[in-house]
């Protein structure tokens, strides 16, 4: 199964709000830890190496965009 990059989250605004709330009143170091944990948990859930590879490729590209 390829990486799904079509809208798949039922309530996008609510999800986004939860994501931001995760980092409220957190230090930069704590925030990095939370994000890293989130990536690891979701990556394990996905499992499929080709899907993860595709997600990492797209994620890396965002840093190269102007």
């Amino acid at each position: 199964m390829p990486l799904n990059t079509q809208p798949n989250i039922e309530n996008p605004d609510a999800f986004y709000q939860r994501l931001v709330e995760l980092h409220q009143d957190r230090s930069e170091e704590q925030s990095r830890l939370i994000n890293a944990s989130l990536v690891l948990l979701l990556a394990n859930h996905v499992g499929d190496a080709s899907v993860l590879e595709e997600a990492m490729r797209i994620a890396a590209q965002t840093a190269d965009q102007p």
Binding site: R32, N35, A36, L40, L41
Partner: protein
């Protein structure tokens, strides 16, 4: 400083015969050079070992010896004292702060002669290898305080400049095996590139003599209360000596950190004020992962740290070097005996470069986990360690060093590919799994039956003929059920044997080919391939 070991000064006897051309000169009498020399000597090749020093290893250095090198030492007749003196272990534990987060067992199945690992100080190991070398008589000559200072290729031989206590002389050799360590002077003489990555971290090794309640296990701490924000590794050595590695960071001063006034407080903080201990040896090290582009350079062949260097996490240095020697010795013996072309030596490159890359890969990944390079990788590392306590998925991501296991050679040009399906872990290019056997009314081990020559191992083998001779290369037939008994059924299980199943096994106990029936023509063809003759 050392209480448990006294260094002997090894005799710097002058080399009497400087005229005759030597088939093989081994430069360096460390674990790799000595293994190389022993393996050639037991195969009947006269060998001269030259070492620039006159003591065994200063410091415990290479400490952990893995199952496969122990099997090789056993084949060479010197494993027994190592097993007796060494500390056998197989459990590794990883702590974050004070909490156990992960545990591994390196030998989860029974039915193997050798333990997963022993810890044995390198000076003890070298003493045992030297003792074995002396048993082998004139065929194996060891000369201390003799240093190879120049190498000149003369076509069908080499001319070596040797610096000895009584002056400089020239020696002719057909082959030079450079086992002269990570800083290899011979590599410098040849000017061959040795490239890779250096890691920006420093570690303190302290060997401590004490009576301690720790079990014989490998314990690794991330961020313990006694050494905040860094890692610590603990190993038990022989003679109540304990190896403790403290991660120091790149900014640490390697000269200052070696001083007892810096080392002792670190140890007291870890061991408690009430624990009595004495320092045996202290060293500060940093490391790199790098290798040569190829290990054979004409008549000079590199083995061990001179050819490839890794970080110490995973005990992959000496262990893989010993396996280099295991791979090279039988090939060189056949070439010197005129029974295989020099092309066979190129398979040493093909096989051991794969192993070096495997080791460098594991070693670099472990180092990236232990020494994160930036804030993001540190966050991932810390997240893994925190998640691991309650969430099983994170535990296999913890990397405190993946401990040395043999690298198989599935792509080796010496293999004959399977034509029929087999189950299990064995395949062409893997080292042979051990198993219990009964032979001559006594319990023994399969690997003892797979020594010296090529072996055709067949289950049943009623039609198996006498030992084979393939253009001068002997292949012994080993009939499972007739010559030896598969006493616990583990050979059949581990090799997926059915009646008639035949394995062709190399002199270094690796699978070359296998079939479901015993066929001397197929065996001969596979043996020719395994000796680079087709």
């Amino acid at each position: 400083m050392m209480k448990t070991y006294t260094y002997q000064t090894l005799p710097a006897e002058p080399l009497a015969d400087r005229k005759s051309r030597r088939p093989v000169v081994v430069a360096g009498a460390g674990p790799v050079g000595l293994t190389m020399a022993l393996d050639l000597a037991v195969r009947g090749i006269p060998v001269l070992v030259l070492d620039d020093n006159n003591t065994v290893s200063v410091g415990s250095r290479g400490l952990c010896y893995a199952k496969r090198p122990l099997e090789i030492f056993d084949r060479l007749g010197c494993a027994a004292p190592m097993l007796e003196k060494g500390v056998s272990w197989k459990i590794g534990k990883i702590f974050r702060d004070t909490e156990l987060v992960y545990q591994f067992d390196l030998l989860p199945e029974p039915g193997h002669q050798m333990p997963a690992f022993i810890n044995l100080q390198q000076y003890h190991l070298e003493d045992m290898l030297i003792a074995r070398a002396r048993e082998l008589g004139e065929g194996l000559q060891l000369h201390w305080k003799h240093k190879v200072v120049s190498v000149q290729d003369a076509g069908d031989h080499l001319r070596l400049g040797v610096e000895a206590p009584d002056g400089l002389f020239t020696l002719e050799a057909e082959w030079l095996i450079a086992c002269d360590g990570a800083g290899s002077p011979i590599r410098e003489m040849l000017g061959v590139p040795f490239t890779g990555r250096a890691f920006q971290d420093r570690f303190l090794i302290a060997d401590v003599l004490m009576k301690a309640p720790f079990p014989a296990e490998r314990w690794f701490w991330f961020d313990p209360p006694f050494h905040r924000n860094q890692s610590v590794l603990l190993h038990r050595e022989a003679d109540d000596v304990w190896r403790i590695d403290f991660q120091l960071g790149w900014d640490a001063d390697p000269v200052e950190e070696r001083k007892p006034e810096r080392v002792l407080p670190r140890l007291r903080s870890m061991l408690g004020e009430d624990t009595a201990f004495e320092l045996e040896w202290v060293s500060v090290y940093q490391f790199a992962c790098r290798r040569l582009d190829r290990f054979r350079h004409g008549r000079v062949i590199f083995a061990g740290d001179s050819a490839h260097q890794v970080s110490p996490f995973g005990a992959r240095g000496a262990n893989t070097g010993v396996q280099d020697a295991d791979n090279l010795a039988w090939k060189l013996a056949l070439v010197l005996g005129g029974k295989a072309p020099e092309a066979l030596l190129d398979s040493y490159d093909a096989e051991r470069l794969v192993a070096a890359d495997d080791n460098i890969g594991h070693s670099s990944r472990a180092t990236d986990f232990i020494t994160p390079k930036n804030a993001a990788s540190r966050a991932f590392r810390d997240a893994v360690l925190r998640l691991a306590r309650d969430h099983a998925f994170a535990r296999p991501l913890i990397n405190s060093g993946r401990l040395s296991t043999p690298t198989p050679y599935p792509g080796s040009p010496l293999n004959t590919p399977d034509t029929e399906p087999f189950a299990g872990r064995m395949r062409p290019g893997t080292n042979c799994s051990d198993a219990p056997v009964r032979a001559g009314g006594e319990d023994g081990w399969l690997l003892h039956q797979l020594q010296g020559d090529f072996v055709a191992m067949v289950l049943g083998g009623e039609n198996a003929s006498e030992d084979l001779d393939v253009d001068g290369v002997r292949c012994r037939v080993l009939r499972i059920g007739a010559d030896v008994e598969d006493s616990e059924g583990l050979i059949a299980a581990r090799y997926d044997l059915r009646p008639g199943t035949t394995y062709l096994i190399r002199p270094d106990q690796h699978v070359a080919a296998r079939w479901r029936a015993f066929d001397t023509r197929a065996i001969a063809a596979a043996l020719r391939r395994a000796t680079a003759r087709d």
